[in-house]
């Protein structure tokens, strides 16, 4: 694992002024970290958008979102030899999306009558089970994953060198997020989802089959997680706890952005990604902790997050 991935590089002292003072933040370094942070942030955003839509409409925290992301990545390992990299970007979300539909319909649906806390516990249990199933099928060893040939290496855009793959990640996720935005804002389905987020009872009264809507939304969220998983593989590597590693920052992004808010998730994702990236450059052992300080600060200033919906989950 390289560059922006900061999970296991906590070898230095936790904090020392020397390392901060010897910092060499030249312009190219800043630009490079900005792009790295942007790419990372877009992955968080992709996760957080799925989480936040599910949360807003269904009042469900999906702990299993992380393992669905991991399953996306493992689909890449399994099917890459047959199809190559590109088709997996469509196949993985389809497979994982179907799994998401099945999970919602079989296990989460019976729990709507009960306290929402039970759904949370259920998805937590699912996350544990699926992570170990991944270990059982694919083994406990990390898989390195190279970017596709076309996108390997760096490109010089005047000021600094950028990883081609990260630029591709930014562009691709932008397209996907634009698609999600179109779906939410411009289609009947999206309007129903938003309506359900604001006033679920009214949607039911209007005669919309909310059960089907829930299943569909859960499936879409699972699909988005799988896309993020495939895209993240060449950057962060593939290893069984990868889902657990991504779910926490994604939760933080959802809270920072504000529960149930699409644009909140986008802004929050980019904020967390960029802050994290710069912390890696400035002082890497702080990179994982800084996210939670950021969360505390945002909550102190804006208790609902950046653009949280008033009255949702309060």
């Amino acid at each position: 694992m390289e560059g922006i991935c900061s999970f296991d590089d906590g070898t230095g002292p936790f904090f020392s002024w020397r390392s901060v003072m010897h910092l060499n933040l030249t312009f190219p370094v800043i630009i490079t970290q900005l792009v790295n942070g942007f790419a990372l942030g877009m992955l968080f955003t992709l996760m957080a958008v799925g989480l936040t839509i599910i949360l807003g409409l269904m009042r469900v925290i999906n702990f299993a979102h992380g393992v669905l992301y991991a399953l996306g990545a493992y689909t890449l390992i399994t099917l890459q030899k047959i199809f190559g990299f590109w088709p997996i970007l469509a196949i993985a979300p389809a497979c994982v999306g179907i799994l998401g539909l099945a999970i919602e319909a079989s296990m989460i649906r019976p729990l709507y009558k009960r306290d929402p806390l039970y759904t949370l516990l259920l998805t937590f249990g699912l996350a544990l089970v699926i992570e170990d199933v991944i270990r059982l099928i694919w083994g406990d060893v990390p898989y390195p994953m190279a970017a596709p040939q076309v996108l390997s290496g760096v490109v010089n855009i005047g000021v600094a060198y950028f990883s081609k793959y990260r630029i591709f990640v930014i562009l691709f996720t932008t397209v996907v997020l634009f698609g999600v935005w179109l779906l939410l804002e411009k289609t009947q389905l999206g309007k129903t989802i938003l309506a359900g987020t604001f006033d679920r009872e009214m949607v039911v009264i209007l005669g919309i089959k909310i059960d089907l809507l829930f299943t569909l939304v859960f499936g879409i969220g699972a699909g988005l997680a799988a896309v993020a998983g495939v895209l993240a593989s060449p950057i962060r590597g593939i290893f069984p706890p990868m889902g657990i590693d991504i779910i926490m920052p994604s939760f933080v992004v959802v809270i920072i952005g504000g529960m149930g808010s699409f644009w909140g998730a986008v802004i929050g994702g980019l904020l967390v990604g960029i802050v994290k990236s710069f912390t890696v450059e400035i002082y890497s052992p702080m990179a994982d902790v800084i996210v939670y300080f950021l969360l505390a600060i945002v909550l102190l200033i804006r208790p609902r997050g950046i653009s949280g919906i008033e009255g949702l989950l309060e």
């Binding site: 516990l121 937590f124 544990l128 909550l299």
Partner: protein, 328 residues
């Protein structure tokens, strides 16, 4: 009523009788557990987690608030006790007090920040803040030992200088030290949930709006419940640190927070004895699974824990004890 029926009613209703039975079982436990294949270390772990789950139940079972970050208080107390014992060489009881106090202050600060949030939002915030402590423990290598953990937490004698001192180095003696803490914790909890305070918590669980309308300061009661359960977690955490002579970052992880949630759920949320039984069952199962349920030499503990989670959430939400006794 027939005689057995009368006895049964007594067992069911008499608090002092129940607490006495519980105390006797806990005191005899090291002599009982070998018959079911256990050993002192296992008994110690069971009782420590019983304290943890018992306190957690005040929050989850009686107040109806789910926290997914209580391992942070467990670990924070263990770590801070360990650090002060290693560096300052103060008496163990004082070190424990320091760890518990630090965790309590942290709980108060975090509680103030997040207690107004409800339901799953609250749960998410507790996970987030819990993870903050996890990362501090695992990354601040100079101070906490990082991923390797904090080694060399002493466990020699407890006592008050000039008055008495008892060695707790030997595991059987350490068990009885923990058993005493457990019994005190159980009595305090019993008093607490059967007091006016406990009644208000249950009212909040059943109908928060109504509790507010009647005139209770709901936020303050919820905060107190959060803090009290954190103190129980902290007590368990310090005992755990003493037990292992060692603390490691995973003790603060949200997976560990999940452990205590499942103990409470399996035993029975909102019942007095449920979480105690739940803690015993889960600790025992973990040992059994890691011995017998290996696939290709690897232990898939998470898989089984997940399955237990799913089974209890979907089919037995009342838990083992809740199956026999209605939620209080």
């Amino acid at each position: 009523m027939s005689a057995p029926r009368v006895w049964f009613e007594t067992i069911k209703t008499n608090a002092y009788f129940q607490l006495t039975i519980l105390s006797i079982i806990v005191l005899l436990w090291p002599y009982i557990i070998p018959f079911i294949g256990g050993y002192d270390g296992l008994a110690i772990e069971m009782v420590i987690f019983a304290i943890f789950a018992m306190g957690f139940n005040i929050l989850l079972g009686y107040t109806g608030i789910l926290s997914f970050g209580h391992a942070a208080f467990f670990g924070l107390a263990g770590y801070s006790m360990g650090l002060i014992l290693i560096h300052l060489k103060i008496p163990i009881l004082l070190g424990m007090l320091f760890g518990i106090a630090l965790a309590t202050v942290t709980a108060i600060l975090i509680g103030f920040l997040i207690i107004r949030k409800t339901g799953i939002y609250f749960a998410m915030l507790t996970i987030a803040f819990g993870q903050m402590f996890f990362f501090i423990a695992s990354r601040w290598k100079d101070f906490t030992g990082g991923e390797d953990g904090l080694t060399g937490i002493p466990r020699n004698v407890i006592g008050i200088p000039g008055l008495f001192s008892i060695s707790i180095f030997e595991s059987r003696r350490f068990y009885y030290f923990i058993a005493v803490v457990f019994i005190i914790a159980a009595i305090v909890k019993y008093k607490l949930i059967h007091s006016h305070f406990g009644q208000v918590l249950k009212t909040i669980r059943e109908n928060e709006t109504r509790a507010q309308m009647v005139g209770y300061n709901v936020q303050r009661y919820k905060l107190l419940s959060f803090i009290i359960s954190s103190i129980y977690a902290a007590v368990a955490g310090t005992l755990y640190g003493l037990f292992l002579n060692y603390m490691f970052p995973q003790t603060l992880d949200w997976i560990r927070s999940g452990d205590v949630v499942i103990m409470t759920l399996v035993g029975g949320m909102g019942t007095f004895f449920g979480p105690i039984i739940g803690a015993g069952v889960i600790v025992a199962l973990r040992v059994l699974i890691s011995i017998y349920a290996k696939i290709k030499g690897m232990v898939y503990w998470q898989f089984f824990m997940g399955i237990i989670f799913l089974a209890f959430v979907l089919f037995f939400p009342k838990g083992i004890w809740g199956f026999f006794q209605k939620r209080e």
